[in-house]
């Protein structure tokens, strides 16, 4: 039990009647009430600081049994002479109203303070991390494939895929690369033991050009994503496996201009609207005319830097108009049909776009790398 606090005067004047106090005129009554009110104001100021004291104070003044207001009613109002009753009643009501107003005001203040204190206690440190659920990621190569597929699906290229273990016919002969062609120098090949016809690991995704045209009459408009293999000793930019996406469009009215427009569309979609395209004549056995597709250097924006050997251009991939000799292998009419093909190194495109410095990073599958591309 807390010690009883001195919140009201000792039995004080309110335990006496007005008559005992000698207050017989309305003026005296008014003065007496003023005295009580002054006492209340003084005491409320003193006792409002501590909530516990305040509760005692409130009971002392408004308690039903022995609160000051009840005592005044009992000792002052009830026994008052008829002449004074009215004045005492009015003064008592005024005092009540005053006390209630002060207490209500105080109650609001106390509650607000308590709420503030509680909030201060419970406030969350926003700088603490939340509970993160472990989420996975898709590999940068897959993300790049998806992006490339989106770009080409939007202009009517369907996606097809084919085997990685291929026959020499589809990988070379039908693409106009006979056995002793010097172009095979750039395509050192892995062979598979004990397979019919000396199967090999495809060196490019181009065999699907042939497989698709064999199966399907023109028009053809396909892309072919997949893994390809070259028997090259690996270094920072070359591996013995990498990913390609092949493209082929054949119809009765496809021209070099269409080829150029498609390639320029691709470069803008993939590298951004400011990227420019340049076609350089080149040579591939299965395209004629052939071209290397260059784009504005992504590092310097075309002004020249080490990455682009100060040319402002970066070589993206090889492409060209389908060589009519290829149509001969798939029984297409080379006099009526024309088309274009391209073969992009997806690893190279991804490395370039995202600034990946070394090819092996793509296949080490270090989660610190994988997490960088959520």
């Amino acid at each position: 039990m807390p010690p009883r606090l001195k919140t009201v005067p000792d039995k004080w004047i309110v335990e006496q009647t007005l008559a005992d106090l000698g207050d017989t005129t309305p003026e005296r009554v008014e003065a007496r009430f003023a005295e009580v009110r002054q006492r209340f104001d003084e005491q409320s100021a003193i006792h409002s600081a501590d909530p516990e004291t305040w509760r005692t104070f409130v009971v002392a003044w408004t308690g039903r049994k022995s609160g000051v207001l009840s005592l005044i009613t009992d000792h002052w109002l009830k026994p008052a002479s008829p002449e004074l009753k009215r004045a005492v009643g009015q003064e008592l009501n005024k005092l009540k109203a005053h006390i209630e107003a002060v207490l209500e005001q105080k109650r609001i203040e106390i509650e607000a303070a308590a709420e503030r204190a509680a909030q201060a206690r419970e406030r969350i440190d926003l700088s603490l991390p939340g509970i993160e659920r472990a989420t996975g990621t898709r590999h940068l190569i897959r993300q790049t494939f998806e992006e490339l597929e989106r770009i080409f699906l939007a202009i009517g290229f369907s996606v097809v895929q084919g085997p990685e273990i291929e026959s020499p016919y589809y990988n070379f002969e039908a693409l106009n690369i006979p056995e002793h062609h010097p172009a095979r120098d750039n395509m050192d090949t892995f062979y598979i033991e004990g397979t019919r016809g000396g199967r090999l690991l495809r060196t490019h995704t181009s065999p699907m050009q042939i497989r698709t045209m064999e199966k399907q009459p023109p028009p053809v408009r396909i892309i072919v994503p997949g893994k390809v293999y070259r028997r090259d000793n690996p270094d920072a930019t070359h591996g013995y496996m990498f990913h390609q996406i092949e493209g082929l469009a054949v119809d009765t009215d496809i021209t070099f201009c269409d080829f150029k427009g498609t390639v320029e569309y691709f470069v803008r979609e993939f590298l951004g609207p400011k990227a420019k395209t340049r076609l350089r004549p080149s040579y591939f056995p299965f395209t004629e005319p052939s071209a290397e597709v260059d784009a504005t250097c992504h590092v310097c924006g075309g002004s020249g830097c080490r990455v682009c050997k100060f040319s402002g251009w970066i070589e993206l991939f090889g492409a060209g108009m389908v060589d009519p000799a290829v149509y001969g292998f798939v029984k297409y009419d080379a006099k009526k049909l024309s088309g274009f093909a391209f073969g992009m190194g997806v690893d190279r495109l991804a490395m370039m776009k995202y600034g990946v410095s070394e090819l092996p990073l793509l296949y080490q599958n270090d989660v610190r790398f994988l997490r960088q591309f959520p």
């Binding site: 509970i131 659920r133 472990a134 989420t135 996975g136 990621t137 898709r138 590999h139 897959r142 699906l153 202009i155 009517g156 290229f157 369907s158 996606v159 085997p163 990685e164 273990i165 002793h180 010097p182 892995f190 598979i192 033991e193 004990g194 397979t195 019919r196 690991l201 028009p219 893994k227 028997r231 013995y240 496996m241 469009a249 119809d251 009215d253 021209t255 070099f256 201009c257 269409d258 150029k260 427009g261 498609t262 390639v263 320029e264 340049r278 350089r280 004549p281 080149s282 040579y283 004629e288 005319p289 108009m321 009519p324 024309s338 296949y363 599958n365 989660v367 610190r368 994988l370 997490r371």
Partner: protein, 701 residues
């Protein structure tokens, strides 16, 4: 091919500085990788494509430049001073194998002083990356880099009977080549022989026995044309690549042979004096009339889609040596759509035989940049891969479950591969691997997955959840055909949840793997689990999984395996944490996802409340949750919705040999709120069934 700027200027009056010239050459199809300064001046490094052996000499490159800048190309006119004695009287040349040697010319020089080359020659050769040997050998090299024609000089005194026979090598014949090796020859190889033995491998390398040295006086200068395929085959078989073989295998210019010989004789005389016998011994079985190729404007338009003016076409083709002549009926009308040119194939351009080849010549010199871009309208709808939608859903969910995708190279170590390969499966083995540890196409995705886990564990990354969409490879036992099977592989180790200020840590366990696979399986209508698995999974923690809801045959429903890696294997691979893996065949899984999607329909959301009842059971060890579930379901209570395990423990008050299982059963009616009486009836039936069928006792809770 290195191109010396000053050397070019001897053939074409180009004024553009070297870097600009390099760019123009690149844009016409002769990629110039770099321009470097040497004592002899700027050198352009050209990446000559395989179809352009004519550009493997300065003169050919000068022709390209002449066409680019529309400048005249200077004619070659070497005029060596010849003596009255004739070469044909001094030697003889026979070609026994005209199919391998289309032309052979021999020129005879006498009394040449073989000595070091002068500075200008040494500097030029040095600038293009060649060592200087002596004036005669240097001249043969010099002329090769000038005209693209490889030459060879023999010491005439060392040729038996001073004559040349071009023939196939004899069985067992060998030759000691200039690089110091003794090389075995085969009858499909063409050799240059004297009356006694092979003295050079045709088009590849000469022999030491007839080599020119500082004591040589008389020289037989060879300038020939050898069959490209034969040279390539020989050079590959011997593993001997030379500047000469590089040119012959791409196709030398047969018409250049005599000219190059004359040019070399002129230079040798200039540098070493001596006497040049008159004329040349020239055996030329392959002489062919030039091919006539027509180019029609209609074809140019059909391929290129935009026009090129007559004047440009004629200037370009003219400069490149095609002699275009209009032959259409509308001669005189310029730029008519009906124009047709008759062109003559130059002897140095065996790559140009068709109309489309002429189209390319015109286009590359006119400029690819001058053709306007256009996007061709699509005439058909585009399709993604057949299962792309299902695969997308699957990947989305695997990623949501916290797995990171990896991409693997499927060439693996055969010993590791064998650990995970079913015995009956024939692996696809590489016959010419680069390295032993990448010499077989993997039989399982697990082998790569463990490699990726290992890499990360070795790099301080201990909590891993990885997945791969890839393939496995094998050779079909019956037909020897390769088979590629798409698979999804999962791998996990370490913590399922790391400790945070909010939560305690938790190790990844079998239940995590099972839950993750079931989440994926939901897409295909659920998975069925069967305790069993390959030897590389831990016994008792291995399962075969299949599609639960599929009309397909049992074989087609089988998806794969999942479980904890056997300790023995983990130790072998030095994996020091528990590792959980799964491999699932993609094709049936994706088909299952599609089938499940096809039949999936809305089910009304229940309007009446669901009620749960818990039953604490004590069961004998060995009783499975599935048996409990089945016993309850067998009652056929229509209002039964779910049976879930809520708590499971052993020990404490539970006697040995038994365990406590609390199950939570949910009831719900579609028509009404269930009454206490109904629920009491369900409960008593369930208790009775579990007691009778499984010997369960109810534990007071």
């Amino acid at each position: 091919m290195k191109i010396l700027y000053k050397w070019l200027k001897e053939f074409v009056d180009v004024t553009a500085p070297a870097p600009e010239l390099g760019l123009r050459l690149s844009l016409a199809g002769n990629a110039i990788d770099s321009v470097e300064e040497f004592i002899a001046g700027p050198v352009l490094d050209a990446e000559v494509t395989a179809n352009r052996p004519d550009c493997l000499g300065h003169y050919g490159m000068a022709r390209e430049i002449a066409a680019i800048y529309r400048l005249p190309l200077k004619a070659l006119q070497p005029k060596p001073k010849e003596s009255s004695e004739k070469a044909v009287d001094a030697t003889r040349v026979e070609i026994d194998c005209p199919e391998l040697c289309g032309r052979y010319t021999a020129r005879i020089l006498r009394g040449v002083k073989v000595q070091p080359s002068p500075d200008w020659l040494r500097q030029r050769l040095e600038a293009i990356g060649q060592n200087s040997i002596n004036n005669v050998v240097d001249v043969t090299n010099y002329v090769m880099f000038e005209l693209g024609q490889p030459l060879h000089a023999f010491d005439l005194d060392k040729l038996a009977e001073r004559r040349i026979i071009v023939r196939r090598a004899r069985p067992g014949e060998t030759i000691h080549t200039l690089d110091g090796a003794r090389r075995p020859l085969a009858p499909d190889m063409c050799v240059i022989a004297d009356a006694a033995r092979a003295v050079a491998i045709a088009g590849v390398m000469g022999g030491t026995e007839s080599e020119i040295g500082f004591s040589s006086r008389d020289i037989l200068l060879e300038s020939a044309w050898f069959d490209p395929i034969s040279v390539r085959r020989t050079s590959k078989a011997l593993g001997l690549r030379t500047e000469a073989s590089y040119r012959f295998e791409r196709g030398a210019d047969p018409e250049m042979a005599e000219m190059a010989s004359r040019r070399a004789a002129e230079l040798i005389q200039q540098l070493g004096g001596g006497e040049i016998l008159a004329g040349v011994v020239d055996v030329y079985p392959r002489r062919k009339p030039p091919l006539v190729i027509e180019l029609a404007r209609t074809e140019l338009l059909r391929v290129m889609g935009a026009d090129v003016p007559d004047r440009d076409i004629e200037e370009i083709l003219g400069a490149l040596g095609f002699h275009p002549v209009r032959k259409d009926a509308e001669r005189g009308t310029p730029d008519s759509p009906a124009v047709v040119w008759a062109c003559r194939q130059p002897s140095w351009r065996h790559d140009v035989t068709r109309e489309v080849d002429l189209v390319e010549e015109v286009a590359r010199h006119f400029g690819y940049d001058k053709f306007p871009p256009r996007l061709p309208p699509a005439k058909q709808p585009a399709h993604r891969l057949p299962h792309a939608g299902a695969l997308g859903l699957l990947c989305e969910r695997v990623v949501a479950l916290g797995y990171q995708e990896i991409v693997e190279i499927p060439l693996v170590d055969p010993q590791r591969d064998a650990l995970f390969r079913p015995e009956e499966r024939i692996p696809a083995v590489i016959s010419n691997p680069l390295a032993e540890d990448a010499s077989v196409m993997r039989s399982s995705g697990i082998v790569s997955m463990l490699g990726a886990l290992e890499w990360n564990l070795n790099h301080g990354q201990r909590n891993l959840r990885l997945f791969e969409i890839g393939k496995t490879y094998e050779i079909n036992a019956q037909g020897g055909e390769p088979v590629e099977t798409p698979v999804l592989t999962l791998g996990a180790t370490g913590l399922a949840r790391e400790k945070t200020i909010y939560e305690a840590l938790r190790e990844f366990g079998f239940a995590d793997l099972k839950g993750d696979l079931d989440s994926l399986g939901d897409l295909a209508g659920g998975l069925a689990w069967q305790a069993d698995g390959p030897a590389w999974l831990a016994a008792g923690r291995a399962a075969r999984i299949s599609l639960a809801q599929s009309a397909a045959e049992k074989e087609a429903r089988a998806l794969g395996v999942a479980g904890q890696l056997a300790r023995k294997i983990a130790e072998q691979l030095k994996l020091r944490q528990d590792v959980f893996v799964a491999e699932v065949r993609l094709d049936p899984f994706l088909a299952g996802i599609e089938a499940a999607r096809a039949v999936r329909r809305f089910a009304p959301i229940p309007r009446y409340p669901a009620v749960e009842r818990d039953f604490s059971l004590v069961l004998a060890d060995g009783v499975t949750f599935a048996e409990v579930d089945a016993a309850i379901r067998a009652l056929g209570i229509a209002e039964l919705r779910r049976v879930e395990p809520a708590d499971l423990f052993r020990g404490g008050q539970i006697p040995a040999g038994r365990f406590s299982l609390m199950i939570r059963v949910t009831f719900q009616s579609a028509e009404t709120t269930l009454t206490e009486a109904q629920l009491a009836d369900f409960s008593s039936r369930i208790i009775a069934a579990l007691e009778q069928r499984l010997g369960a006792t109810l534990r007071a809770s």
